[in-house]
Symmetry: C2
């Protein structure tokens, strides 16, 4: 627990699933409807601060979340990233990207290349409840 760390003080988004070592949150208002974050509960800064067993647990959770997102949303591409320059508490961004989304094929952190497509956004949003049910069912026991 680190003083003034926002990911120690709060979940960091809408909680989908919490396990003893990590939690999965939905990042609201990011402009990408299928934007999730896998947050390591303990305050560590870097992936290489984890031991091998912890890394394996986090990696398998990331891969299973990615697989479920692919099954439910069929994105053009998955984007996965651990940056943390502003909040150096280990968290992985998991973002489903679609041809025609506001930034595609640029990274979500680059300048937008087109206006968002409201129908596409709504189509993705409509499938999130089923996706998140599957995440809760399949990921809680995954190790």
């Amino acid at each position: 627990m680190a003083a003034a760390c926002p990911l120690c003080a709060a979940d960091g988004g809408r909680l989908v699933l919490r396990t003893p070592r990590w939690r999965l949150i939905h990042a609201e208002g990011a402009g990408f409807p299928a934007f999730y974050r896998l947050v390591w509960n303990a305050h560590v800064a870097e992936f290489s601060d984890l031991d091998r067993g912890e890394r394996a647990e986090l990696t398998e959770a990331l891969a299973l979340a990615e697989q479920l997102i692919r099954e439910h949303l069929a994105p053009t591409k998955m984007n996965v990233a651990s940056l943390g320059n502003m909040v150096p508490h280990l968290h992985w961004h998991l973002i489903a990207r679609f041809e025609g989304d506001s930034h595609f094929p640029a990274p979500v952190w680059a300048t937008a290349v087109r206006e968002p497509d409201a129908a596409q956004l709504e189509g993705v949003r409509a499938r999130l409840p089923a996706l998140e049910s599957a995440m809760r069912e399949r990921m809680a026991s995954a190790r």
Copy 2:
């Protein structure tokens, strides 16, 4: 091997180390001197296309590369990402970030926030040969 895939046709940058399943390259001209990419040799698009053993091998290589970069360069933060919207052949960006670099604390894909600091860039570049020697020694046998 996929037709017209640049990461099937070539290494994709200056080769640091090649193993049977992955290679580590230095990304030239990215504006960030310590910008490496861990490229899976076979043509797969997503991390979740690998099996568990392959993911573990890739994860441990990523973590060891990150640890060596931290030991040699002492960056402010490591940035790790698998995007691949333009080249959907699995590769992980590994970027050492420094307070005061051209984009910090923004992601490298965002708009620059300041001019690059030539002395800082040169200081990092000067330490790359020793880093890459350590990568070749330590990572070739790591599994």
